[in-house]
């Protein structure tokens, strides 16, 4: 069966989400949003899904701080983060490239990462540009570290990194290659990854989404997505376009 790369990623992310109570998705994250809604469809209305930036798709009534308070209470189980740079220790950089006093590149800023990365049990890293420019040996600026000294209060952190080429898991401060997406190779992943990572002797191919999953995504999830991500829903799922 034919599927788009976005559908493969969303299916994989939905599986990473697993059986949790509450998934929150940050702004401008249509693929994680697709995955969260897919997980909710599969779970008959659970997990709760909060899509930030959309009052319709969040339940917050205590202002902009509620997301963070909620995470601090342990009530957010899964969140998604990205980075201008991500390194092999799970550190993410959302601020700058170059020396701090005279940066060469400036990104928007750390947003809530310097907090959420510590207190959300499953943080899924997500970066569609898999290159030595983005996946680096050491980030130039640590918006949030992948790990801390054992005495530092930390109930959360990275569990996986998904890219356009492959899926890594993360534990004990290291990434481990889990699977390579169809059409990509282990050699290619090594070539385009700036950091060192572990891998099993045999690296499986990322399994394609099932026909059932594709149907659910296209027919049930896509229309829900269209309110917040109309362009994405139209491009990927053809939703909002009149049937031919």
């Amino acid at each position: 069966m034919n599927f788009r790369p976005e559908e493969l990623l969303a299916d994989q992310i939905a599986q990473l989400i697993g059986g949790v109570r509450h998934v929150a998705v940050g702004n401008a994250s249509p693929i994680p949003a697709t995955a969260a809604l897919l997980a909710r469809e599969r779970g008959n209305g659970r997990p709760y899904v909060s899509l930030l930036g959309s009052p319709k798709n969040t339940f917050w009534t205590d202002g902009a701080r509620e997301l963070f308070d909620c995470a601090g209470q342990g009530r957010i189980d899964v969140f998604f983060l990205s980075g201008g740079q991500i390194d092999g220790h799970g550190n993410i950089n959302l601020v700058e490239i170059g020396e701090h006093a005279h940066p060469k590149v400036r990104f928007p800023g750390s947003f809530g990462s310097a907090y959420l990365y510590y207190v959300v049990p499953k943080v899924i890293l997500f970066r569609t540009e898999h290159s030595r420019r983005t996946l680096v040996p050491r980030v130039d600026y640590i918006s949030a570290p992948g790990a801390n000294e054992p005495n530092v209060f930390r109930t959360g952190g990275p569990v996986a990194l998904i890219t356009n080429r492959c899926l890594f898991s993360f534990s004990n401060g290291r990434f481990m290659l889990q699977s390579v997406h169809p059409g990509h190779t282990v050699e290619e992943v090594i070539e385009h990854t700036g950091f060192d990572f572990d891998r099993p002797a045999h690296v499986p191919e990322t399994p394609p989404p099932s026909a059932e999953t594709l149907k659910l995504m296209r027919e049930t999830v896509a229309p829900q997505l269209a309110e917040l991500y109309p362009q994405f829903a139209a491009q990927v799922f053809g939703v909002g376009v009149p049937p031919a």
């Binding site: 702004n27 401008a28 930036g53 009052p55 917050w60 009534t61 205590d62 202002g63 902009a64 701080r65 997301l67 963070f68 308070d69 601090g72 959302l94 601020v95 700058e96 701090h100 005279h102 940066p103 060469k104 400036r106 990104f107 928007p108 800023g109 750390s110 947003f111 809530g112 990462s113 310097a114 907090y115 959420l116 990365y117 510590y118 207190v119 600026y141 640590i142 918006s143 949030a144 570290p145 801390n148 000294e149 005495n151 530092v152 209060f153």
Partner: protein
């Protein structure tokens, strides 16, 4: 004795050069008419606190040379790309940047709201956000055992400035679910609000409305600026002007284009 000013400029005259000004994120009611008026007035040396992020508003104020210090967690035009004047100013070193993380700004404003000198926050330890903030302290929590925790000093702005759907003649403001606007007003010395319209009657008289109302007690000045968040959205009321934001992103990509934008959309408007 009403807080409703005769003009936008009159309402804004409590915002002085060099003051610490707190403004909300894009979806909580950004006072864009007021922002344009401040640029026309030529305000300078602002310590701008964007709670907890900003988009067009910070980019415009920075591009127009109004900002000395920026304290926020991120500035971006969202789907319209990076904030070009913010990025240029950082690379040129022309503004002082105090990078934060969203909950740290909320907590620091809540410290001022509660009249305490600081607020603790989890996270942050081991990040460069903390490393470059010499105003933040790490202590060993007296309730833990070798448990380091960050203390953030209270942020007490001189002025809180935001846009809301409506005020009544008693100065009460409908803020709905945007409760950080109440925290901003509680934390700041003075509060200036622009509104799309004046509500007849007293918002506090009705228990349903009262639940989403900032009492006029905290509000110093109000100006009526219809669709005053344009081209940004006022959620529950109107959407962003996507075409205009795309035009901004295009024009502001260069210093020269940004100048043309100011001429066309900020200075020209005064004549209108």
């Amino acid at each position: 004795m009403s807080q409703i000013a005769k003009s936008l400029d009159e309402a804004l005259d409590v915002i002085a050069d060099g003051c610490m000004l707190v403004v909300p994120r894009e979806v909580s009611g950004v006072p864009m008419d007021a922002t344009r008026a401040l640029i026309r007035r030529g305000i300078r040396r602002l310590h701008l606190v964007a709670l907890p992020t900003s988009s067009l508003q910070a980019d415009l104020l920075i591009g127009a040379g109004c900002v000395e210090t920026l304290e926020t967690s991120a500035v971006s035009l969202g789907e319209y790309g990076p904030a070009p004047r913010f990025t240029a100013a950082i690379l040129a070193g022309s503004i002082k940047m105090k990078d934060a993380t969203c909950p740290a700004l909320h907590a620091a404003l809540q410290a001022a709201e509660k009249g305490v000198p600081f607020m603790p926050l989890r996270g942050l330890i081991g990040s460069d956000v903390l490393k470059y903030r010499d105003d933040w302290k790490v202590i060993d929590s007296p309730f833990g055992d070798n448990d380091p925790i960050v203390l953030l000093p209270a942020i007490r702005p001189d002025v809180a400035l935001f846009h809301a759907a409506m005020a009544d003649v008693f100065g009460n403001i409908w803020i709905g679910r945007q409760r950080e606007l109440a925290t901003m007003a509680h934390a700041a010395e003075k509060t200036v609000v622009t509104v799309d319209r004046i509500h007849p009657g007293n918002l506090l008289d009705n228990p349903t409305f009262a639940a989403g109302t900032l009492p006029g007690f905290y509000v110093d000045r109000i100006a009526l600026t219809e669709r005053g968040a344009w081209p940004l959205p006022l959620p529950d009321y109107y959407a962003a002007d996507a075409a205009h934001l795309a035009e901004y992103a295009r024009m502001a990509a260069t210093e020269e284009g940004f100048g043309e934008y100011l001429e066309k959309y900020v200075y020209e408007k005064q004549a209108a």
